[in-house]
């Protein structure tokens, strides 16, 4: 749709006070990806370390534009001082990149697309509405969104993990533990996060939770 919005009207709290603006999905932009992140405080990773090769990633070339504040980018180990007005273009999808904010409110726009291919939203970006419901504490809607996403991508470990989080909040212990187990079986590195993740407070005391997070592969013995 054609329309306008200020970035402050598109942001919602994402994690630890930082905010995410779902620009592409808000306007239904169809030909490139575009989102923005806002750091809660100095020292925040406004762009978390990642590359564009993961199963959920779009293999995009990406432009980062520091629209306010000040950051330090690290790309393939090179540190780049990036005050407001800086463009950092990462053409290599294999390049590891992250950005740390120097000031609260530092905002970075990201624009991405895959060279030589028509744009389609990445699997990762498709969970934006679900994350928004999470940030509002609407776990019922968040769970519904993840169930819909999993209908199209049943092997996606992050979707399974986040569905488990929502179900934990909703008191659906059995489903939460089953989905958490499945997520960790598919992606064992999710285990470390689950141990500390407050979203699992609702199932943490269950012996099966300890089995899933303590002994990957023998999960399910507590039931």
């Amino acid at each position: 749709m054609s329309g306008s919005a200020h970035i402050s009207d598109l942001t919602f709290e994402f994690v630890n006070g930082s905010a995410w603006a779902m620009v592409r999905s808000h306007f239904d932009v169809k030909s490139f990806g575009v989102n923005a992140y806002v750091a809660a405080e100095p020292g925040t990773e406004v762009i978390g370390e990642h590359d564009e090769l993961g199963a959920d990633a779009g293999k995009h070339e990406e432009v980062y534009f520091v629209s306010s504040g000040h950051t330090t980018f690290t790309v393939n180990g090179d540190e780049i001082d990036a005050p407001m007005g800086t463009f950092v273009f990462v053409r290599d999808p294999a390049a590891k990149r992250k950005a740390v904010a120097h000031e609260a409110g530092t905002t970075v726009l990201i624009v991405g697309g895959k060279p030589g291919e028509a744009f389609t939203p990445s699997v990762w970006e498709r969970q934006a509405p679900a994350l928004m419901f999470f940030s509002k504490g609407d776990y019922e809607q968040a769970a519904e969104q993840y169930e819909q996403l999993l209908a199209d991508a049943p092997e996606n470990a992050v979707f399974l993990y986040n569905l488990a989080c929502a179900q934990s909040h909703l008191g659906r212990k059995r489903e939460a533990l089953d989905h958490l187990r499945e997520a960790i079986e598919k992606r064992p590195e999710l285990c470390a996060g689950a141990v500390k993740d407050p979203d699992f407070d609702g199932v943490r005391d269950d012996p099966e939770f300890s089995a899933i997070t303590g002994q990957v592969g023998s999960a399910g013995t507590g039931s």
Partner: protein, 212 residues
Amino acid sequence: MSEKAYEVAHLDELDRFPVDDEGLLWRPVRRRLGITAFGMNAYTAEKGDERVVEEHQEKDGHDELYFVASGRATFVLGEEEIDAPAGTFVHAEPGTKRGAVATEPNTTVIAIGAKPGVPHEVSKWEEIFVAFGHYRKGDEAAAREHLTKFVAENDGEWQGHYNLACLEALTKNREGAIAELKRAIELDPQAKEYAANDEDFDWLRDNPEFPA
């Protein structure tokens, strides 16, 4: 040699090519960074109260998103008028009339665009804009060198010859202008229609050799 994994540029370091005689500056971002998956440019109005996005409709089907990076502008989007301070996004679907006038000095708008459903193709028009940018900055030699190179690389396309004809006409090179315009018309007769209404050629119209 393999391409570098990343490029960095600050807005202040981007080229400043005049687009018109009213002060609108084109600041090529895609071209500077080597982006290939979508188009990206910045436009700056230094004085304020000047056009910062030309009024147009993107008839070639581009989806465009504008971001006000600094200053403030009034956008027209379809029939709507939008006050857009720094931090505002304006999205225009293909075919929607859009344009913007800066309302503060040093207003910069970043434009991002691509055509939905197909791989992005870098617009060859960028190189023509660069050539005329050099001309408007008073560097005729750079303009001619840039456009001549572009024509040599795209000899079968009328637009290059037509624009070189314009440049030759603007710099009062009668023979060059007529030769290039003839070549453009040979390649595509619509060049004749454009030339008939193009004021760049006004001083040449009475010449018996003028082909339009």
